[in-house]
Amino acid sequence: MPPASSVSRIPVEERLFSLVLALLATDTGLTKNEILSTVQGYRQKFQHSGDNSNLERQFERDKDDIRDLGVPIETVESPGQAGNNQNLRYRIPRGDYELPSDIAFSPEETTLLNLAAMVWREGSLSGESRRAIIKLRSLGVTTTEPVLGYAPRVRVRDAAFEPLSAALEKHLIVQFAYLKPGEGEPRLRTVAPLALVQHQGRWHLYADEPESGSTKTFLLRRIVSAITTTSKSFPPPAADQSERALAGLEEVWRRHTAVVEVEPGSDAATRLGKRRGTVAAASGALELHYSDANILADELASFGPEVLVLSPPELRDAVRDRLLRTAADHG
């Protein structure tokens, strides 16, 4: 912070806005020195013959904040000065900054996108979806009011989501302790994150594990440590990772079936009967699909005497053990 002087304080957004305008307006690019000495918000603090390292750090942070918004800042080397960092020139290439002119959204599409953004109104993607909507409104399209009001919401409660999505974006290797059911101790995993997907209401990380040479799916709620993001990067994977992750989970879900008997007319009968993929057998028993036996066991245990698991035997045992445990804990 400069000493209180005659210079009135320039708001951060004015400095960022001025930087974007300056970099958009230049074809050849501006050197860091030119930026710091002439652009509004920097020039007021620039020392013509002195140390500007604070201001340089400020400029680095500002560049990150601006790039976060999807504004591309590129660096070009000055002619004949290759390798000289002081003479790197910065610019925003107009074609990569502007929304392509053939992209337009109809009022109906805009309405759908407003709803899609509303899905994220809590948690880690709320800022992104809010900004996306502001950019959408920039196009001036008016929305149609939906016949029926919706308030959809996807929650991101796992603390691991935010650091994982940042690492995903930057293609950085991460480490965390993971507690696999049936294993007494959590194990440290080192993985390259490929996608974050929500399946059956739960968030999963799809990642390459170099140690085992395989691609695995981790349940975020079983990550029991903070996420450590390393500085080691990996090559960007093909663009269809989230589809593969969902397809893999869907395949596991499809392959696993449980047969349960439900008390007619009970909460279990109504809710399990309405689950996607549930088939009622002639006997009245329900055949359910599931992707994780431990999670299904927790869910079935909540129905108490309304549910009796017939198969598979491991699930039957798991539900019985859970009920016995709860009864013992409250006895």
């Binding site: 708001p11 957004e13 004015e14 806005f17 001025s18 305008l21 307006a25 002439t38 904040d65 976060d68 918004l69 999807g70 591309p72 990569d96 929304l99 392509p100 959204f105 759908l112 996108l113 899609a116 953004a117 899905v119 994220w120 993607l125 992104e128 979806s129 900004r131 502001i134 950019k135 409104r137 920039s138 196009l139 001036g140 016949v147 029926l148 009001g149 919706y150 308030a151 959809p152 996807v154 995903l168 974006e169 929500q198 209401g201 799809y206 663009a239 990772q241 989230s242 969902l246 007319g265 109504t270 689950r275 245990a301 108490g304 005497p305 019985r320 859970r322 009920l323 445990r325 009864a327």
Partner: protein, 324 residues
């Protein structure tokens, strides 16, 4: 739905400035009120942004922000008529692209909503997703949500709203009782994989929240509604506490508190006892509590009152007895 005012970070303000300029360029003359309504922001936010834009620009050839290097507006129109007319433009020609994460958030949101009747046209949704990808500054991040699953109920709810009539259905309430309900549908809400209808219930004569997976035999009636979406202010929270709620003390394994966040009332005191978190949950009756606790075996335990412990123990024991 009313949008709550969010505190704006400098990044949000920058995104707003970069979005407002092209909008103003497309409108030769626009009132502050109209721009505020379009962007869904307070009028003062538009005025502040216009004041900032009007003194902004590029250093220019002289490196000193000469008049012609700055945006300008018609000050008379702005100050006297509250209208915005840009008279000089700098640097910006078009709307900015979406960031990779912004595009990903919208694409994943669209996927999640694919069960809505409005999404019936799958080809249109696919084209919309591809436009978002092309309109992003980088490949959208790999974040996805499984398509939500709902049955025909959503379509019938929509039909009832369109026709302005009541929806009739069998409802299994959380106490396990079956009731026939007549409801004026007001809004459909969701939390992850769970979908809810909020409506004016003619049986209870109040606003109620219904889980879609507890609704059976929905029928669009020909009885007109008495309460429309514009007549009723819906509270923001899906579940509201009532004065009759029961407070229960529970211990929960550290790290698992997040699973209970919907049940913990504001201002609840949380302490750590023997490495477990002790807190209070609010439930309308023990029927819900016993199910909740039985879904967290070894993770959550009721400490008090004793009646609550007994209800949970009996529920779990009855369940276990079926395996003898």
């Amino acid at each position: 739905m009313a949008e709550r005012a969010q505190p704006q970070k400098a990044q949000d303000k920058l995104a707003f400035l970069l979005s407002l300029v092209p909008y103003l360029m497309d409108h030769d003359r626009v009132s502050v009120a109209e721009a505020a309504a379009h962007f869904g922001v307070p009028e003062e936010q538009i005025r502040d942004a216009v004041r900032l834009i009007s003194v902004s620009g590029i250093p220019g050839e002289t490196s000193s922000y000469q008049h012609g290097d700055l945006f300008d507006i018609s000050w008379d129109d702005f100050e006297e008529n509250d209208e915005i007319v840009l008279t000089n433009l700098v640097a910006i020609d078009d709307s900015p692209r979406f960031s990779a994460r912004e595009a990903a958030a919208l694409i994943a949101g669209l996927q999640y909503l694919s069960a809505l009747p409005e999404h019936a046209d799958r080809a249109a949704i696919a084209s919309l997703q591809s436009k978002l990808s092309r309109g992003a500054s980088a490949v959208p991040s790999q974040v996805a949500v499984e398509a939500s699953e709902t049955d025909d109920t959503l379509r019938l709810i929509r039909e009832a709203v369109e026709q302005g009539v009541q929806l009739k259905f069998d409802y299994l309430n959380s106490r396990g009782e079956h009731e026939n309900r007549h409801v004026d549908p007001l809004r459909v809400e969701s939390v992850d994989a769970d979908w809810y209808l909020r409506g004016w219930c003619h049986l209870r004569e109040a606003v109620r929240t219904f889980r879609l997976d507890r609704i059976s035999n929905p029928i669009v009636t020909d009885e007109p509604i008495t309460h429309g979406a514009t007549d009723v202010t819906l509270p923001d929270t899906l579940f509201e506490g009532s004065a009759d709620d029961l407070l229960v003390t529970i211990d929960v394994a550290a790290g698992a508190e997040a699973l209970l966040v919907d049940y913990v009332p504001d201002g609840a005191i949380t302490t750590v006892v023997d490495g477990r978190v002790r807190t209070t949950v609010r439930v309308s009756h023990y029927h819900g509590l016993k199910r909740l606790i039985a879904s967290m075996p070894g993770v959550a335990t009721v400490v008090a009152p004793p009646e609550a412990r007994a209800v949970v123990a009996a529920w779990a024991a009855a369940g276990a007895a079926r395996y003898r």
